[in-house]
């Protein structure tokens, strides 16, 4: 019988679904986050989040193999459509086959999850370099618009690198922020965030960086295609060196929201090619 599981959209909630599906002897065909519930022809079951159940599932995965648990944790951060179904399929097979499943790199229960996690890892890797901060009276702030939920994975890197700084990194896609102050951090939901206008000093460093960027290019080797494949255009919207003139003026208005959205649309078109 086709059945849909509904849950609160959290990782623990999803693991509770996994737990309940074994108790109920069911194989849910889809998972719905309560925030995006659409009407459905199939019967649905609401699963409340139970932290102990979630913990038991997570521990059991780790016992089979720590790497399996890592795939599940990371899988939930990806932007793969129907990521819950992909992860669920992997977990079912993993419980059935055990550790050897992990070597089945081309198996349909494993491959979609591997692909999604590789996409996530790739985005995290690039963003370690592409994130840009601005200084507001000693506090650093930056924003990104990633496809995957990268903040939990960027967190160790930036908290070590910027151990003695107070900073905020805003994820505009998932509306959450990583905040950090000397070794203490949190990832918090944040509905909206608007960067303040730059001070004269901040604007000057932006201009210096832009000048460096423009000068370091060897014009005789110009190769926009290579640059694009190394650094897809969708990242440019939050990078200092690709902003409009206004961005480099002290006291100028920050990027208005509608402009950001227009840019994302342009970015999407590029990705689609």
């Amino acid at each position: 019988m086709e059945i849909i599981y509904r849950y609160d959209g959290t990782f623990e909630g999803f693991l509770s679904c996994v737990f309940d599906s074994y108790v109920n002897k069911e194989y849910p065909t889809a998972f719905q986050d309560e925030a995006h519930i659409a009407g459905s022809l199939f019967p649905a079951r609401w699963v409340g989040t139970d932290l102990r159940h979630a913990q038991r599932v997570l521990v059991s995965l780790g016992k089979i193999d720590p790497y399996a648990r890592e795939l599940v944790v990371k899988g939930f951060l990806t932007c793969a459509p129907e990521r819950e179904r992909i992860i669920y399929r992997f977990i079912r097979s993993l419980y059935a086959v055990g550790k050897p499943l992990l070597r089945q790199l081309s198996d349909e229960a494993v491959l979609p999850l591997l692909k999604a996690v590789r996409h996530l890892d790739g985005e995290v890797h690039l963003l370690k370099g592409f994130v840009r901060f601005s200084d507001f009276e000693g506090t650093l702030a930056g924003e990104i618009r990633p496809k995957n939920r990268v903040l939990p994975l960027l967190r160790p890197h930036f908290c070590d690198r910027m151990y003695n700084e107070t900073f905020l990194l805003y994820d505009r896609t998932h509306r959450e922020a990583l905040v950090h102050q000397t070794g203490k951090w949190a990832i918090i939901p944040l509905e909206s965030f608007k960067m303040a206008a730059p001070s004269a000093e901040e604007a000057q460093y932006r201009r210096l960086w832009k000048r460096f960027y423009d000068t370091i290019e060897i014009k005789e080797r110009r190769n926009p295609g290579l640059r694009m494949s190394n650094m897809p255009k969708r990242y440019w919207e939050t990078m200092t060196e690709f902003q409009d003139e206004d961005y480099f003026l002290a006291g100028a208005d920050p990027l208005p929201e509608h402009q950001m959205q227009r840019r994302t649309l342009e970015g999407k078109r590029h990705d689609a090619r």
Partner: protein
């Protein structure tokens, strides 16, 4: 002169230097200091310039004033160009502020020769000392050791930097004598040898005393200019091989010569930089460092230059039909590494996956192996891919097509001419 102008002049003068990686030094954060060089950032690019190259470090000269007159260099003393000098404070401030904003991973400091090599190096040391000990910069620093600098100063430089490099500049002694009259091969190799020895000694010291000061923990690299002199690829690659063998260099960088001056000894000003050649050398360099190849296997007296049409690994494979096909399910790691289209990541995946069950062609495709290249050289359970024709010229055509999209743009036209002719 303001900092903006200095930055412009001294970036412009440094941009031809190829090295811009920050890999190889691991250092976590320190209380009260700025930054780290943790291993997670190895190979981290902070942006890509319009020429598609990775930008990791603030790559500038301390000054573009130079008493030398290397013919191929924009900074040579006989060139009429604007000169500038950073003060240590200016440079330290730029590095720190760029680093905090995550624009860069650190500083790559090189310099023209101001007064003398020792005088210049002392100024570089002053700058790095300020950065490390006053601004408490804990990020990555790559410094150039200038040929002719005294041993003591090179050592002090190495204690402040993560990586040191001495540029070989031109691959042969003749090249140096005609084009860089103030430099000799000996003057270049002496500091290189010195750095190698100090690195070795430092390693032993660190075993004995854990807190011994660290000398250039990310090791030593060098760079050569490609295409300014008539040296063959074979010559360049053997030199590279011996640098890895004898001097334990971490990296050798190649920089396609961009004509910056009219001189009868040099390629004409309208010569395009030999990007494809540089690309082939980098590919071969990877084969030396990660794939177990030796220079003498890749090029010999009969074939002293790389084939522009196919990459060095394919080229080797085509010349060694006796080595293939390789059976994916039983071949050793070393054998798999020699298959075109199979990289180090692919080899790892194959070795990992085949312990569960025997692999088919379809599995390899799903695992991300570049079958367009690999298909000609492998069997799965003893079978070649269904319907594949194994004729020399169709293989060659297939391999050329498979690489086409990834090649540096400027020289593609030249390539299609080749194709029509052949």
């Amino acid at each position: 002169m303001d900092v903006m102008e200095k930055l412009t002049i001294l970036t412009d003068a440094a941009k031809y230097d190829a090295a811009c990686t920050s890999s190889g030094a691991q250092r976590g954060h320190k209380a009260g200091h700025i930054g780290n060089t943790s291993s997670s950032i190895a190979g981290c690019c902070h942006t890509f310039s319009g020429d598609g190259r990775c930008v990791t470090l603030l790559k500038v000269l301390m000054t573009n004033c130079c008493v030398y007159d290397c013919k191929y260099c924009v900074n040579r003393c006989s060139n009429d160009t604007r000169r500038a000098v950073f003060t240590p404070e200016e440079l330290a401030d730029l590095t720190i502020q760029f680093y905090r904003r995550n624009y860069i991973e650190g500083l790559f400091l090189s310099s023209g020769v101001l007064v003398s090599p020792d005088y210049t190096t002392e100024r570089m040391i002053r700058c790095l000392d300020l950065l490390r000990n006053h601004y408490r910069f804990n990020g990555y620093i790559h410094a150039k050791a200038i040929p002719g600098t005294s041993q003591e100063l090179v050592t002090r430089l190495g204690l402040l930097a993560d990586r040191l490099s001495v540029n070989i500049e031109l691959p042969s002694e003749q090249g140096l004598t005609t084009l860089a009259p103030n430099k000799t091969r000996k003057a270049i190799f002496r500091p290189m040898g010195l750095i190698t020895n100090t690195l070795k000694e430092n390693k032993e010291e660190l075993v004995k005393y854990r807190h011994a000061p660290r000398f250039a923990p990310a090791g030593q690299s060098t760079q050569m200019i490609i295409g300014a002199t008539p040296d063959s690829d074979r010559h360049i690659l053997s030199l590279t091989q011996s640098l890895y063998d004898k001097y334990s260099l971490k990296r050798v960088f190649y920089s396609a010569y961009v004509p910056v001056v009219e001189n009868t000894l040099l390629p004409a000003l309208d010569t395009k930089p030999p990007l494809l050649r540089e690309h082939r050398l980098y590919q071969a360099d990877w084969l030396l460092r990660f794939y177990g190849f030796r220079a003498e296997e890749l090029l010999d007296e009969d074939d002293p230059n790389f084939n522009p049409l196919v990459d060095p690994k394919c080229s080797w494979a085509l010349k060694h039909p006796e080595f293939f096909p390789v059976e994916v399910n039983t071949a050793s790691r070393e054998e798999l590494l020699r298959v075109p289209g199979v990289g180090t990541v692919s080899v790892k995946r194959i070795l990992y996956a085949r312990r569960a069950r025997k692999l088919e062609h379809e599995d390899l495709r799903k695992m991300g192996i570049v079958m367009k290249r690999a298909q000609y050289f492998i069997t799965c359970k003893g079978k070649i891919l269904d319907g594949l024709k194994l004729q020399q010229d169709s293989i060659l055509r297939g391999l050329i097509a498979a690489e086409r999209a990834a090649l540096p743009g400027a020289e593609l036209e030249q390539l299609s001419l080749f194709e029509q002719a052949g």
